[in-house]
Symmetry: C2
C-alpha cells in the first residue's frame, strides 16, 4: 500500500453566498488548492466531489464542478456520507492514490445550502436518520436527535447548559480570528443562555448555522509529494464506522459508538493509546454540529475520561495552550457547516496547523507533528476519524 499526502489546500469563505452557484463555490477552493500545490488541472488524475445535495438544484454536481473547474475529462465520482461526506471524499481520493490508480487526486467538498429555505433544510436534515420510521412517524428533527444526547449527558453527568455554552463561546472566539468563518463575532455565556430554545436543552447558539462553502485538497503519492513540496502532510491513518440508522436501536445516548470505533481503528494504525490520546496530538478538529457533540467528541476520542468532557470545556482546556486545542478555526458551530465541505475543511485547517501557517492567535504549538480530525455524519450514522502527520512513518509502540 502506497502513502498519500496533502500537497495543496483551498477554502472558500464560509457563509451565505446567494450570488454564487455550487460550481463557483467549488472553483474558489479548487483554484487555491491547485495554486498551493503548484499544479494545474492537467496534473489531476482523479476528482472526488463530496456533496450531500438535496438543497441545491444540481443533481449531478461532480460533472458540473469538473467542467467549470476546467478538469474535464478527468475521471470523477461524487461521494456522500451525510455530514461526513468531506472525509469520505478525502478517503476516496487517498485510496485512489494509495492503490496506485492515481499519482495526484483532488478532493473537494461543496454545499450550497441556502438555496433552500430553512424549513426545507430542517425537513431534509431531519431525514438523516431513518426516513421511513423515525422521521416520518415521530417527526424528530436533527436538533431533536442531538437534544436527546444532551439530555442524557446532562442527566448522567450533572453537566449544565452553561457547560455546553462554553463550547460555543470558544468556537465563536476562534471564528472571530478566522476570515473564512461564517460568524465573525465573539459571544458570551450569557448570549448563549439568552438565546431561544431550539430543542431543549439546545438553544440557537448551541447550533451550527446553515452555510454555503467549499474546501479542496490536492492529494499526491509519496513520489509526487516529495517533488511538489517540502512539507507534505501525510494522511497517516483513517478509521470509519457507522451507527444504526434508527436511533431507537442505540444502546445509550452518552457516546457516538461509531466515533469510538473509528478512532480505535485509526489509533491502532499509529500505535496511539486511546486513554492517553491527547498526549499524541498537537491539535484536533471535531464535529461540533451542536455544542454537545463537541463535548461527547472529547470523550469518544479519548481526550478525557467519560463524563469529564464538559469539565474540559468549562476549564478552557481545549483553547490554544490547553490540554488539547480543538477547533481553532471556529468549528462547525461558528466557522459554519456546509455539509460536505466540512470534512475537507478540517483537512485544510489541520494542514495549515501542521505547516504552522495560521496567525499566531489561533496557531497551535506544533511539537508532535500529529493532528486528528473527527467528522460525523448524521447523529453518529457515519464516523470518519483521520490522523494527519508531518512524519510519513510515525508510529508508536
Amino acid at each position: 500500500m502506497g502513502h498519500a499526502a496533502i500537497v495543496g489546500i483551498g477554502h472558500s469563505r464560509f457563509g451565505r453566498a446567494p450570488d454564487k452557484q455550487l460550481h463557483e463555490l467549488a472553483w474558489q477552493a479548487i483554484r487555491q488548492a491547485l495554486q498551493d500545490a503548484g499544479v494545474t488541472q492537467r496534473d489531476i488524475q482523479f476528482l472526488v466531489v463530496g456533496n450531500a445535495g438535496g438543497w441545491s438544484s444540481e443533481l449531478l454536481p461532480a460533472v458540473v464542478v469538473g467542467e467549470y473547474a476546467g478538469l474535464t475529462p478527468v475521471g470523477s465520482m461524487r461521494v456522500e456520507a451525510a455530514c461526513a461526506s468531506g472525509s469520505a471524499a478525502l478517503r476516496a481520493a487517498a485510496t485512489a492514490v494509495e492503490s496506485g490508480k492515481a499519482d495526484i487526486a483532488l478532493a473537494v467538498g461543496v454545499e450550497k445550502m441556502t438555496e433552500s429555505t430553512t424549513m426545507q433544510i430542517v425537513e431534509m436534515i431531519g431525514r438523516a436518520g431513518s426516513f421511513f420510521w423515525e422521521f416520518e412517524h415521530f417527526g424528530l428533527t436533527f436538533p431533536g436527535y442531538y437534544a436527546m444526547y444532551a439530555t442524557a449527558y446532562m442527566h448522567e453527568y450533572r453537566a449544565k447548559e452553561e457547560d455546553l455554552a462554553a463550547v460555543a463561546v470558544k468556537n465563536h472566539y476562534y471564528a472571530s480570528l478566522n476570515p473564512y468563518a461564517h460568524f465573525q463575532k465573539q459571544i458570551t455565556i450569557e448570549d448563549v443562555m439568552k438565546s431561544r430554545y431550539v430543542a431543549w436543552p439546545l438553544k440557537l447558539y448551541d447550533c451550527s448555522p446553515q452555510t454555503d462553502g467549499a474546501a479542496a485538497v490536492v492529494v499526491a503519492s509519496e513520489e509526487m509529494a516529495k517533488k511538489l513540496t517540502d512539507t507534505p502532510i501525510w494522511i497517516r491513518a483513517q478509521g470509519v464506522a457507522t451507527g444504526t440508522a434508527n436511533l431507537s436501536k442505540r444502546d445509550n445516548f452518552l457516546s457516538l459508538e461509531p466515533a469510538v470505533l473509528a478512532a480505535e481503528q485509526a489509533y491502532k494504525q499509529v500505535g496511539i493509546e486511546r486513554s492517553q490520546s491527547y498526549k499524541y496530538f498537537d491539535v484536533a478538529e471535531v464535529h461540533d454540529c451542536f455544542t454537545i457533540a463537541e463535548i461527547i467528541a472529547y470523550e469518544d476520542l479519548g481526550f478525557v475520561e467519560r463524563g469529564q468532557g464538559y469539565a474540559l470545556a468549562r476549564e478552557g482546556e481545549t483553547y490554544k495552550g490547553g490540554r488539547i486545542p480543538v477547533n481553532l478555526d471556529g468549528g462547525l458551530k461558528a466557522k459554519g457547516h456546509p455539509i460536505a465541505a466540512t470534512g475537507v475543511s478540517m483537512a485544510v485547517e489541520l494542514t495549515k496547523q501542521l505547516r504552522q501557517q495560521n496567525p499566531e492567535s489561533r496557531q497551535a504549538d506544533i511539537k508532535k507533528g500529529l493532528a486528528v480530525a473527527h467528522n460525523i455524519g448524521g447523529t453518529g450514522h457515519y464516523a470518519y476519524v483521520t490522523i494527519f502527520s508531518l512524519n510519513k512513518d510515525v508510529r508508536f509502540t
Copy 2:
C-alpha cells in the same frame, strides 16, 4: 498496488417493486452475494452503496441499507456518478481493497425509481446535464439528448431506424432468457417501428425502462480471494473519464469521447490494441440506455470501425456466437436500468459469464477469459470501462 477480485455476486429481480423499499431491494442482492462468497456480514470491512437517488425518500441510503443488511458498524459511503454509479461503487470497493484498507469490501448498487412518477423521473433525469443552463433554459430531456446523437449518427453514416431497432430486438431476446430481467417478452423490428416516438428518431422501444432493482458484489484481496474461491474474477483494469456537463460544448455527436478515453486507459493497462479490441474479449456489457447508445458503444470500445456499429447490429454480430457477444443478459434496454444498480449488475453478469454459470442459451464461449463492461453516466458525462479476467496477471504486449 494489490489486486482485487469478485468472489461473490447477488442480484434482485429487476422490474417494478411497489411492495419493496430501497433497503429491502438492496438486501436481496447483498444476501445472495454474501452466500455466494461464503462470508457473513462480520467479514465485510467496507461497504460502498451506489445510489443516484432523488426519486426515493431515503436521502441517506447507505446507513439504512447497512443497518437493514446487518452490516452496522461497518464503515461505509455512498457514491454517485449518475447512471455509472454502480461502476463507481465497484471502483471504490476495489480501491479500498487494492490500497490495503480492507481485505473484503462490498459494493451494492440499488435504485427505487418507481416511487416517483414518470414525469418526476423525466424531470430529474433531464437534469443529468447542466441544470442551470441546458435543462432549465432549453428544456431538453434525456431522450432528447440521445436523440441528438441518433440524429447525427444516422445523418453521417446513413444508418436507419431499423438498425437501431435491431439492438432492441437482440436485447429483448436475451432478456426473455434471463429471469432477473424487467421485460420477459421477445419483440420484432416491426414492434419497435410501430412504437410511438419519444424523441425522433427514438421510439418507446428504443428506450430503457424505469426499473427498481439492486445488485451486489463481494470484492476481496488476492490472499482472501484465494481462500474463498477457486474462480475469483479479477477486476483487472478500469478506466474512468468525464464529458462536459453542457452538451453544447461537445465537439461532435457521433461518439462519447469519455468512453473512448476510459477504454484507452483500461486497454493500456492490459496491453489491448483498441482497433482489434473485440478479439481480446469473450463477452461485453455495454450501456444501452437507448439503442443508439449501444451502437456508439461498439465504436467507442473499438469493436468495429467508426460508422460500422449499426452494421454490427444489423448483421447480428453481437449475438452469442458473433464477432463479440454484447448484453447477453438483456442490457439496460430489456433487463432494465435501475440507475446505480446497472454498473454492479454488469459486474455480476460478467462474473457469471466468466464462471460459465449462465444457461447455455445466453452463455458466451469463454476462451480468452476476458470481459469488458462499459457504463455511462448521463449522456457521456461519466464513462467507466472495466475489464474482468480469469487470469490475475493477464497482459498482452
